[in-house]
């Protein structure tokens, strides 16, 4: 039911130039990730949309590892593992520091040949879902464990005696280089696993979705989502753990300690002086593994702050929860009410069906519910846990090299691509081995300052929503499901400069209508600016912003569909949300009075 697009195009990426000061940005990224001049004709024939849902900020060179691994592996499962009949993968490029995507269809004449393979391969996974998923968890854990065991230490002044004695014949630089390679490999491995179940989860959901749209014409997308999504995703577990800790603090009569002190270290030291305090500290320690492997970002940026590495952060949330619990507020999500509501919705739609349509509804819903928890849960295992460990190791290496004077700031290794790091390690190995100065300290600080200026300059502009001419209709299933990019959405972007400038449209992602003041948040480190009852307006939100959802009245995002993380978390918290507005975070300014209608997908600037 999509309308035809007006015959209009977005600009070509080749005609959109970088902000002043960012000239030459292309050289910061791998050659295969930028729009190359000699491929203009080919690249301009494709429609590209900006994925600011996963990559809202400008990439530092090292950070392209996330999009490269993730989107390559997504494609490989469609194209090579399961042979999803109509869909191959998604091409990706970087332009002015932001990420653009273009889905790759399958030539119509090749589709039929893929069907039997898809039936066999995907069928095998659906039939053995539970046991394969069990195995998946083992594989993912093993990867994380191995990654966690990697350590980058300063090189010794001399090869250890033990290695001489045993005749090892190899010095620690070999291990350092091998460990770096292994770290990258292990990240790649878990990104492969990430998509082993995800695409299948989406197609099963899509099947149920299609049925609902046929049986109940114009059924709100929200209704379908509510019937399928669980209320017990592990994604909410970290936040739930903090709430439980806050309740425990209240029950043990420790609320005062949390009210009068600040910082994890200080609070824990006060708690260590009493028995009840020590009881609480044990619970706090137990909750950390694995639940504090949790980022307030989305796992794709080296600057992501993980709870485990910054205990003040979860402790701050606990302090806030203790205060709210003391004020008599119920902290935990209304799970029972959510289940009652979900069952009501399912029952009422079921009552409208009979015979084989009812059987189809029940069968498809059953499968969608079997597979859907993965769609939510995987995010904790990969984006949070795996990437939390990965970035910690990357930072450890960066700081080690910083200690050798290779760069000015501890985390500056992020300004190198991952393939530029290897020669740096060899530079270190050479300097150390030869007993002479490394070259890095006389090269990288200056080069990194140059790159930093470019990244900063790129960060001054928001990305264009899309490039080139969109197809007449957008129905590539993954584009619609994962990114919420629809024909209507793209027409809105195209017509965005016409119409009422105070009215924005997006997806009706979580129901309800509220009015309130806007707060623009473009990165996780701005979250502390949010004040009680404000409306969060962001290019994209991460579900790990969980604790702030108790403060805000509604959420508005630039991009994201019904199944985006913002939509899921808002439904869980019962907050209105409008996602995929295209431009809310640039059109709306902090302090504007908004009316957010999450039932109809509209945002109005009313003052």
């Amino acid at each position: 039911m999509s309308t035809k697009l007006a015959k209009k195009s977005f600009d070509s990426p080749y005609d959109l130039h970088a902000p002043a000061g960012a000239e030459g940005w292309q050289e910061l990224y791998p050659y295969n990730l930028v729009f190359r001049d000699n491929l203009r004709e080919k690249e301009d024939a494709k429609f590209w949309f900006c994925d600011s849902q996963h990559w809202p900020n400008v990439f530092k060179p090292f950070e392209t590892v996330g999009v490269e691994f993730a989107v390559r592996c997504l494609g490989a499962y469609n194209t090579r593992h399961y042979l999803v009949p109509p869909a191959n993968g998604i091409e990706f490029r970087i332009h002015n520091g932001f990420c653009y995507m273009s889905p790759v269809g399958v030539a119509p004449e090749l589709i039929a040949d893929r069907v039997p393979h898809f039936l066999q391969r995907a069928g095998h996974y659906f039939q053995n879902w539970d046991s394969l998923l069990e195995n998946w968890k083992k594989k993912v854990h093993a990867t994380i464990e191995e990654m966690d065991s990697i350590e980058f230490h300063a090189l010794p002044d001399m090869v250890p005696w033990a290695d001489i004695e045993s005749g090892a014949g190899i010095d620690p630089t070999a291990k350092m280089m091998a460990d770096y390679d292994r770290l990258i490999q292990l990240a790649y491995q878990n990104w492969e696993y990430h998509f082993e179940f995800l695409n299948l989860g989406y197609v099963a959901y899509l099947d149920f979705f299609t049925f609902c749209k046929e049986s109940f014409p114009n059924i709100p997308d929200l209704a379908v989502a509510k019937m399928v999504t669980g209320v017990d995703s592990v994604l909410f577990r970290p936040d739930d753990e903090l709430k439980t800790l806050a309740m425990l603090a209240a029950n043990l009569g420790l609320a005062e300690v949390f009210a009068q002190n600040d910082g994890a270290e200080k609070i824990l030291s006060v708690l260590s002086q009493s028995e009840k305090g020590r009881e609480w500290s044990t619970a706090w320690t137990n909750a950390q593994n694995p639940w504090f492997n949790y980022t307030s970002g989305n796992g794709f940026y080296g600057s992501d702050v993980y709870w485990r590495d910054h205990l003040d952060l979860p402790m701050g949330y606990v302090q806030d929860y203790v205060k709210r619990a003391a004020a008599g507020e119920k902290l935990h999500r209304p799970k029972d009410a959510l289940i009652v509501e979900r069952d009501r919705i399912v029952d009422e739609y079921s009552e409208l069906l009979s015979g084989e349509t009812l059987a189809a509804f029940q069968g498809k819903l059953g499968l969608a519910r079997t597979v859907y928890p993965y769609v939510e849960d995987h995010n904790f295992y990969i984006e949070h846990w795996t990437m939390g460990v990965f970035w910690r190791k990357v930072r450890q290496l960066s700081r080690l090299l910083h200690s050798y004077g290779f760069w000015n700031e501890p985390d500056d290794m992020l300004y190198l691509t991952r393939d530029e790091v290897r020669p740096v390690l060899f530079d270190l190995a050479t300097g150390w081995g030869v007993g002479a100065d490394c070259i890095a300290p006389s090269y990288w600080p200056e080069e990194i300052e140059r790159r930093r200026k470019i990244v900063d300059a790129l960060s001054t502009a928001r990305p264009a929503p899309a490039f080139n001419t969109p197809p007449a209709e957008i129905n590539e299933p993954f584009t619609v499901m994962l990114w919420g990019i629809t024909t209507d959405q793209v027409s809105q972007w195209l017509g965005a400069d016409e119409g009422d400038p105070n009215q924005l449209r997006g997806m009706a992602a979580s129901a309800g209508v509220v009015e309130g003041y806007a707060r623009i948040i473009t990165a996780a480190d701005q979250l502390d600016q949010l004040e009680q009852d404000e409306i969060l307006v962001a290019p994209v939100t991460a579900p790990s912003w969980g604790p702030v959802f108790g403060k805000i009245k509604a959420t508005v995002t630039d991009i994201g569909g019904m199944m985006s993380h913002a939509a899921i978390v808002c439904r869980e918290y019962g907050l209105p949300a409008v996602t995929g507005t295209g431009s809310a975070s640039t059109k709306i300014k902090t302090g504007m009075l908004l009316r957010v209608d999450g039932s109809n997908g509209t945002v109005e600037i009313i003052g």
């Binding site: 659906f126 197609v203 109940f216 919705i345 189809a360 499968l367």
Partner: protein
């Protein structure tokens, strides 16, 4: 026995109350927000007809009348209706009706306008199409005026159309009766109808609402193009809305009557229902459907005098008749479940893509 309050504890009998009043009593019992009122029962009508010479006189006029002689039918019809309007009402009927009216006024906290509507009993007659449709008198104030309108309702059984229909179809005059509803007038800011089905395709997962400014009569009679809303029945979210140019409205004139006037430029193209009100109207329709266990067609109004949340009123609920007799046109192709149906869904997406690339 001559009157029956909508909130009475007794069970409603169709033969005594007629279709409309029975429905209002049932909905009141079910807790629906029905404006208060009472029925003047068929016993009242029968008393008027039988305790006087009225019935005998009428029967003698009707006997031998040729239904194809329209002129003769017109003359007799006018004569009978005049007789009914002039016939003094038996004392007991008069007294009980007055008492009921007075209690209603007391309940409303003083004299308020009422609507007087006929409520036919005849099951074998196409009720809506002739017996009751025209006999709605709005904004009636005062006991005597109400009594007069009740008689006009009774008289409506003898319109030329009704008589011709009975004669042509050999329907006996014997047993003909009529109840009348006297109900607190709603001061409708907005009113309209709602169906618990999408009448365009028989989709039972929708509630379709037609809504316009003022009293609902212009919507029912089709004299104004109403706003049209399609609501998902389960989620109660609007999924489609068409805001129309609503050029006229029927409102109280401030002098004990109603006036039909042009809607000012400002309001014409404004939605006549807020989102909250839409949800409340849809809920009301859903309650009616659940109560009767069948697809319903309701009339509702938003009362300008009542506070938000309590101002959505149910005026009438009757079964939908078109789609209840034929299959829905909603077609489902993606049947089955599991990997085969998933593949089919993906292929259907592909077909969509091929179609669009051919355009």
């Amino acid at each position: 026995m001559y009157t029956f309050f909508f909130n009475s504890d007794k069970d409603p009998e169709h033969l005594v109350l007629g279709g409309k009043c029975t429905s209002l009593v049932i909905m009141t019992k079910a807790g629906a927000p029905v404006p208060p009122g009472f029925a003047v029962t068929t016993h009242a009508f029968d008393a008027v007809m039988r305790q006087t010479n009225l019935l005998a006189n009428i029967n003698s006029l009707v006997t031998g009348l040729d239904h194809s002689d329209l002129k003769a039918v017109d003359v007799v019809s006018a004569q009978i209706r005049r007789m009914i309007l002039e016939q003094p009402v038996p004392e007991a009927v008069h007294r009980e009706t007055h008492q009921a009216y007075d209690s209603l006024m007391e309940l409303c906290g003083g004299e308020v306008p009422v609507a007087v509507r006929s409520s036919a009993t005849a099951e074998d007659l196409p009720d809506a199409s002739f017996a009751g449709q025209q006999d709605t008198y709005l904004w009636i104030i005062g006991r005597d005026n109400v009594m007069h309108k009740i008689r006009e309702c009774w008289a409506s059984l003898y319109t030329s159309r009704a008589m011709t229909y009975r004669l042509a179809n050999n329907i006996a005059e014997e047993g003909l009766s009529m109840a009348v509803a006297v109900q607190k007038m709603v001061n409708a800011r907005t009113a309209g109808v709602a169906m618990t089905i999408d009448p365009t395709n028989g989709d039972r997962s929708k509630i379709v609402i037609d809504s316009s400014w003022g009293l609902g009569e212009l919507v029912v009679s089709g004299e104004v193009t109403p706003d049209n809303f399609v609501i998902d029945k389960v989620m109660l979210h609007p999924v489609k809305r068409i805001i129309s140019d609503k050029h006229e409205e029927l409102i109280p004139d401030g002098n004990g009557g109603i006036v039909r006037r042009e809607v000012d430029e400002m309001r014409r193209n404004q939605p006549s229902l807020s989102d909250d009100e839409l949800t409340l109207v849809a809920k009301l329709a859903k309650v009616a459907e659940k109560h009767y266990g069948s697809v319903q067609d309701i009339e509702w109004a938003i009362d300008a005098d009542l506070p938000a949340g309590q101002n959505v009123l149910l005026l009438q609920s009757r079964p939908e008749t078109v789609w209840s007799q034929k299959p829905s046109e909603v077609k489902v192709t993606s049947l089955g479940s599991g990997i085969e149906s998933i593949t089919n869904s993906l292929m259907a997406q592909m077909v969509g893509r091929l179609k669009s690339s051919e355009k």
